[in-house]
């Protein structure tokens, strides 16, 4: 990385970042878990079909059992207000705040964050977002195409890329290269491309690394000294970290040099994530829209006899990522997971299609950031694995290893 970046006054008073109030009922957490996947769900009664909101523990029409069901996003705005006074520290920092009430096409009424262009009588589209405290929040936006990023309230729910500084942990692999290009195209002020050693002569002529607003930096996530040095060389503000580092190898438990590969996979996938998190979390926490994106394999969901070490390492990575997300809740930093199946790259020369083109993974990362979505599956393999795992984990483990 070259060129001097302006340094901030280290003694200047830092702005304390608050998050919205976080206490929720168990039923609301269930709604949040689904909103984290980008799904708009409400409870419906298994006996009488009535849709209910806010989340309850029994149907208010017949006391029947409630289950979660996808709901239509259409709604009509009933009334509006602009909150100008709040006792909550987070909202005090963001006054005035527009909210309103909508009649959902699904049946219930709901209080919503209201887009600046919406008024009573208007048709609206309701999105289940995740707020900066990590809980589901309904946001009503106008129907049709609209520039959402110009609404400061909307920006609180997403991670803008334009004008921000991002680090891609491994920009040497195919996924990392695609992510660098994607973030650069999306208008990032600077994309720092991490290059694990050894340095190659061709790096100097590489079309991606040579892009405007892209700088390379030596970064090996298996080496704590390398991670610390990279952080100190970046020095200034950093808004987004995308962890693309991975070590993909086939083989079961009993294959020849399995232990060496297993250890390497754990060093990259699990310990690598830990090193990045430990080093960059405080830096991200100081930023208004800090985010950590991790690209991981859907192999993380269940043990895999054909890729034992890799699946185990990715499973460890998933576990650490869940812990990290919870840790960062209090800081407002978003931790986003992007699951993929086999990638169309040199790591998967042996694998049959379908394989996910790296550029598609990069696009999914941009989309996850633009929607603040915590959990994204890119490609059919990952989506199918997630669906089957959510439905029946023990069946999924058996099927995967048939």
């Amino acid at each position: 990385m070259s060129g001097a970046r302006e340094k901030r006054d280290p003694l200047a008073r830092k702005r304390l970042r608050h998050v919205p109030p976080g206490a929720r009922s168990r039923a609301m957490h269930a709604l949040s878990a689904r909103a984290a996947q980008g799904r708009l769900v409400m409870q419906a009664c298994s006996d009488c079909d009535k849709v209910t909101y806010p989340p309850r523990d029994a149907c208010p029409a017949c006391w029947g059992e409630l289950g979660w069901r996808e709901q239509p996003a259409g709604a009509q705005v009933l009334c509006e207000t602009t909150v100008r006074v709040s006792t909550d520290p987070y909202f005090r920092d963001h006054m005035p705040w527009r909210m309103g009430k909508v009649q959902m096409d699904a049946g219930p009424v709901a209080l919503v964050h209201l887009h600046a262009a919406l008024h009573p009588g208007d048709r609206a589209h309701v999105r289940a977002m995740v707020d900066r405290g990590g809980n589901a929040a309904l946001f009503a936006i106008p129907e049709g195409a609209i520039d959402l990023m110009s609404d400061p309230q909307w920006r609180e729910f997403v991670v803008p890329v334009a004008g921000r500084i991002a680090l891609v942990s491994d920009a040497r692999n195919a996924i990392g290269r695609a992510v660098v290009r994607e973030l650069q195209t999306a208008g990032a002020e600077l994309v720092v491309a991490g290059l694990p050693g050894p340095a190659l002569a061709s790096d100097a002529y590489d079309a991606v690394y040579a892009l405007d607003r892209v700088q390379t930096i030596a970064l090996d996530v298996t080496d704590p000294v390398s991670v610390a040095e990279a952080a100190s060389r970046i020095g200034g503000p950093l808004d987004i970290v995308v962890n693309t580092a991975r070590h993909v190898r086939t083989g079961g438990m009993s294959a020849g040099n399995a232990l060496v590969e297993q250890r390497r996979a754990l060093e990259v996938s699990a310990m690598g994530l830990s090193r990045l998190a430990a080093t960059f979390a405080p830096i991200l926490a100081g930023r208004p829209n800090g985010a950590f994106v991790d690209v991981l394999s859907s192999a993380a969901l269940a043990g895999d006899a054909g890729n034992a070490g890799f699946a185990a390492a990715e499973a460890a990575r998933l576990s650490l990522l869940q812990a990290f997300r919870h840790e960062m809740r209090g800081t407002g930093v978003r931790v986003l997971s992007v699951f993929t199946g086999p990638v169309d790259d040199s790591d998967h020369q042996h694998a049959p299609p379908p394989k996910v083109p790296p550029v598609r993974i990069a696009g999914a990362i941009a989309e996850a950031l633009a929607n603040g979505r915590e959990e994204t599956c890119v490609g059919d393999v990952a989506a199918d694995a997630m669906m089957r795992w959510l439905a029946d984990p023990s069946l999924y483990v058996r099927e995967k290893n048939l």
Partner: protein
């Protein structure tokens, strides 16, 4: 299937007391409850042994309920109740105590509401208010009740063509009434110009549409006419009462309250009409709720409240004296005690023991309660008609 309500024979209500409010208090709710009892001791000569029924309401007495209060305050009642319905608690306390006395479960019930307001306690009590608020209201800007009632006010104004000027007239009249009440927290005259020019809090709710949270206590006695006579207390009888919870749950916005379901029965049982009422004491967390009660209690047809407000004088000397102590909007909102002050003030006016100015020849009071926002609306409503006994 509705059975007729039995009349409240053999029951009277008396001895309204108000412990002067304070904006903030370091003292806990127990202290305020104790002050109310001491005032009953001083004004009615009551001792702990006289009280065999106790009904308590508070948001800030935690971890204690009415149970803890008995031991704390040295009571040994044979009938005990704790009412969590906030703005509807006064009417509900009266209803429960009246039946207990009538049926002989107790002879003298003290109904008491006490709440403290420590610095920052408003924020804390807000965040733990209800499960639906926590899940589906506060995450949306954390505007508290101001935001919830802003949405109701916005919809109500659109639906019925009510303007800020009408709400202003209610607030200005209540402030004028507060002028003679020495214990009202806000007594400085409020002009219509000042009302209209106030800063917005959650549009269309502006500063003078909001109550001031404070510490305070209110209490009254429900007993038999014989016991009241012994204690030499002026008394009133209960003509009729109603109560309702979670009415009109399918209304997308709360434009009417539960009173509508039962109001005909109320007037019928009391054998009077709204024109017989000398003073109206309604729950007034926001002027929109005052307007809603004027309609839903039958003082004017639904949808005509704007005209009714323009044509009516709500001051103490007016044709419908409203919230004559200034209401919560001027006297202050002392938590659950805010749901009792309509009872105590209505009683005081018809017993001719006012805090400030007296409504001339007042004999009949209508008291109305509205309580507890759970999600997007107040859930509990109630009303009582009281008549002074000679």
């Amino acid at each position: 299937m509705t059975r007729r309500q039995a009349p409240y024979d053999g029951v009277v209500v008396c001895a309204p007391v108000t412990v002067p409010y304070r904006r903030f208090s370091a003292e806990p709710a127990h202290w305020w409850a104790g002050r109310a009892l001491r005032q009953l001791r001083d004004e009615a000569g009551l001792t702990p042994a006289d009280i065999d029924g106790f009904c308590f309401a508070s948001f800030s007495s935690g971890p204690d309920t009415a149970v803890g209060l008995t031991q704390h305050l040295g009571l040994c009642p044979r009938w005990l109740d704790h009412i969590p319905t906030g703005g509807a608690s006064g009417v509900m306390a009266l209803r429960r105590a009246a039946r207990a006395v009538q049926c002989g479960d107790a002879e003298l019930v003290v109904c008491l509401a006490a709440d403290t307001n420590q610095i920052d306690s408003f924020r804390h009590s807000l965040s733990g208010f209800s499960r639906f608020s926590q899940d589906a209201v506060y995450p949306y800007g954390f505007g508290g009740p101001n935001a919830t009632f802003a949405l109701i006010t916005d919809a109500y104004m659109r639906e019925y063509g009510v303007t800020r000027a009408e709400f202003g007239k209610l607030c200005v009249a209540q402030r004028a009434n507060a002028g003679s009440n020495p214990v009202a927290l806000q007594r400085k005259p409020l002009s219509m110009e000042a009302y209209m020019a106030a800063r917005p809090i959650a549009d269309p709710v502006h500063l003078f549409d909001c109550v001031m949270p404070c510490a305070g206590a209110e209490a009254f006695i429900v007993t038999t006419p014989e016991r009241a006579e012994q204690l030499k207390l002026p008394m009133a009888q209960v003509l009729a009462t109603i109560e309702r919870h979670n009415a009109f749950a399918e209304d997308p916005v709360q434009l009417r309250g539960g009173w509508v379901l039962d109001i005909d029965q109320l007037w019928e049982a009391a054998r009077i009409t709204p024109t017989d009422v000398d003073t109206l004491q309604v729950y007034d967390d926001y002027p929109v709720i005052v307007a809603m009660q004027i309609e839903d209690l039958g003082f004017c047809p639904k949808g005509e409240v704007a005209r009714f407000i323009r044509e009516t004088d709500f001051t103490i000397e007016g044709n419908l004296p409203l919230n004559t102590n200034g209401g919560q909007l001027s006297a202050g909102q002392a938590g659950a005690a805010g749901g009792f002050q309509n009872m105590t003030e209505g009683l005081r006016q018809i017993l001719h023991r006012p805090l400030g100015a007296q409504v001339p020849q007042a004999k009949i009071a209508a008291v109305s309660g509205f309580g507890l926002v759970n999600f997007d609306r107040g859930v509990c409503t109630g009303a009582a008609l009281l008549e002074a006994l000679p």
